[in-house]
């Protein structure tokens, strides 16, 4: 796991920042802090839902690997890349 992704998750978890983000089941998300909206693809939606529930990066990657039948390495890289995207926008 890269430090950057871990740091970002820690930052996003502060003050319930991540859990306050509103998410619809079609992948539309709204950030009440900035007023910005976004669209997630389905894997993004699943990943964000794990993170919002407080799963760690490793736990999220582990669950994605099982849900989609991909290797843990692929899932872990993807979660880290996704967190870097979240860090840019949120």
């Amino acid at each position: 796991m890269t430090m950057a992704a871990a740091e970002l998750l820690k930052e996003l978890s502060k003050d319930d920042r991540l859990s306050r983000i509103a998410v619809s089941d079609t992948g539309f998300i709204f950030d009440p802090q900035t007023g910005q909206s976004f669209t997630l693809n389905k894997t993004g939606l699943v990943t964000l839902s794990h993170l919002k529930k407080g799963s760690s990066i490793d736990e999220t990657a582990d669950q994605l690997a099982r849900q989609y039948g991909v290797t843990e390495e692929v899932a872990l890289n993807s979660v880290e890349a996704f967190l870097l995207q979240l860090g840019r926008y949120l």
Binding site: V23, I29, K42, Y68, F82
Partner: protein, 485 residues
């Protein structure tokens, strides 16, 4: 919206991705949603039927649409100047059925090469209904064109000399035209074609003809550019040509009976360099006809006064006639997410079939309602070339393999400039005015591709025994075996 999300459909794996909504980034004309603009049929024929019967990709030409186009354009000129004649520019689209339709509608054949000349004759066009332009006319085809009575419009002095020589050999007096070029002040001068007016080359050509025993100058031809968006450019072109015609009255061996203004009138297509949509950027054909015919009537008034016949007007519009009468149906073969976040789709048709994608932003329509948000998408063709891009950026909903897209307008220059590179060229189908469809150019296959190849005797057989190392792991390959240990 709820923060506890119930995800029943997790979809298939792709890397998780978040796309920001760009509020306020709309263009000044507003966002055009493609789902308001689904295209399930083209020229009255369901897209799915066309793909099922003729495969994908497939070009489809609408006969009724094409006939309506040419009738409207001809009428715009003829009602303003009754000596107006349309010349069908073969290079724009020389599929035989399309040429035949336009000849049925009364268009002359405007050809620019030996091949095009031979094709027009093959299609049954009499020589006297052919305008022969272009910078390269070999002697054998010039001889044939003279014998056939075609209107040959010379591009350079060597061609004039060759015309004189052939006419001498044949013992004939030949009426010819010359192509001239000049600056209208509106378009980039196309000075590489024809004789330049300002530098005196036109005078040299006229002097040559007036001393000739066999040549008679009857036509002045010029072509001021392509996709000319300013009708006043044509008015200036006609004014300059009429002025020259007037100066030439009474010159030995010169009796102008034709003013040929070439083509260049745009279609309703979107040039990549133009910000406005074509509906706003491209003037109506009547505006061009107004400008051209008014200038011609003004420039030839002196002839009426001296009791001389007015010249006929030849206009050689290509793209304005055919472009929107043809579409390309293509299919998505794969999708991907680019590292910069943009969506991308790979199509079974690229710039090999859609050469004009290099300068147009073609309209792309989906054939079904697609769920999901629209995103900036890149449409790639199937070629192994990085420049094979059909659209660099278009807002589309998520595409899936097997989706059909309808690309238009594509009738001009694609069926002539298409590339034979790694793929077979597909069927071209005519949606007939009377109903039903017919193939007007058959898809290529290996037989077509191999027909021109010839294999010398020493390459006649292919015995590879012991010459090539097998790729299979089961083969006795020392390197592979080492790796397997």
């Amino acid at each position: 919206m709820d923060s506890s999300v119930d995800i029943t459909d997790i979809g298939t794996w792709e890397p998780p991705f978040i796309q920001p909504h760009k509020m306020g980034a709309l263009n000044k004309f507003g966002q055009r949603t493609l789902r308001d603009n689904i295209c399930r049929e083209v020229f009255g024929v369901p897209v799915n039927d066309l793909v099922r019967r003729y495969g994908s990709p497939v070009f489809v030409v609408g006969e009724k649409h094409l006939r309506q186009n040419i009738r409207r354009i001809k009428s715009a000129f003829e009602q303003r100047y009754n000596l107006a004649v349309h010349g069908w520019s073969y290079k724009t689209n020389y599929i035989s059925a399309i040429c035949r339709i336009l000849h049925q509608e009364g268009s002359l054949a405007e050809v620019v090469s030996k091949f095009e000349y031979e094709k027009a004759r093959f299609l049954g066009v009499p020589g006297e209904q052919i305008i022969f332009n272009g910078p390269n006319k070999p002697k054998d085809i010039l001889r044939r064109a003279i014998e056939d009575g075609a209107l040959i419009q010379a591009d350079h002095m060597e061609e004039l000399k060759m015309l004189e020589a052939v006419a001498d050999e044949l013992g004939r007096i030949v009426k010819i035209g010359i192509r001239i070029n000049f600056d209208t002040g509106f378009t980039e001068p196309w000075s590489r074609f024809g004789f330049n007016l300002e530098s005196g080359q036109v005078n040299e050509a006229i002097n040559f003809i007036s001393r000739s025993d066999h040549l008679r100058l009857s036509s002045l031809h010029s072509h001021i550019g392509t996709f000319v968006l300013e009708p006043r450019a044509y008015a200036e072109q006609v004014r300059i040509m009429c002025e020259l015609m007037r100066k030439l009255e009474g010159v030995e061996n010169v009796a102008i009976d034709t003013i040929d203004i070439g083509g260049g009138i745009p279609s309703r297509n979107a040039l990549q360099t133009i910000y406005l949509p074509p509906e706003q950027a491209v003037p109506d054909i009547n505006e061009y006809a107004d400008a051209i015919c008014e200038a011609l009537l003004a420039g030839t008034r002196y002839r009426k006064e001296i009791g001389k016949e007015l010249p006929r007007l030849i206009f050689e519009s290509g793209r304005a006639v055919i472009d929107d009468a043809e579409v390309l149906i293509t299919s998505v073969v794969g999708t991907k997410r680019l590292p910069d976040g943009r969506r991308a789709a790979i199509l079974d048709a690229g710039t090999n079939l859609l050469f004009t994608a290099y300068w147009y932003n073609h309209q792309v329509k989906m054939t079904r309602n697609a769920a999901g948000s629209e995103e900036e998408t890149v449409l790639y063709g199937p070629l192994c070339m990085n420049i094979d891009v059909v659209r660099h950026s278009i807002s589309l909903p998520p595409l899936a393999a097997g989706d059909h897209l309808v690309i238009s307008p594509v009738g001009a220059y694609n069926n002539t400039q298409w590339l034979q590179f790694i793929e077979y060229r597909p069927n071209v189908v005519l949606a007939q005015e009377s109903g039903g469809c017919s193939v007007i150019r058959q898809a290529e296959d290996l037989g077509v591709m191999m027909a021109q190849d010839q294999i010398p005797a020493h390459l006649a057989s292919l015995d590879l025994s012991g010459k090539i190392r097998p790729l299979s792991r089961s083969g006795n390959h020392p390197t592979l075996n080492r790796k397997l240990v």
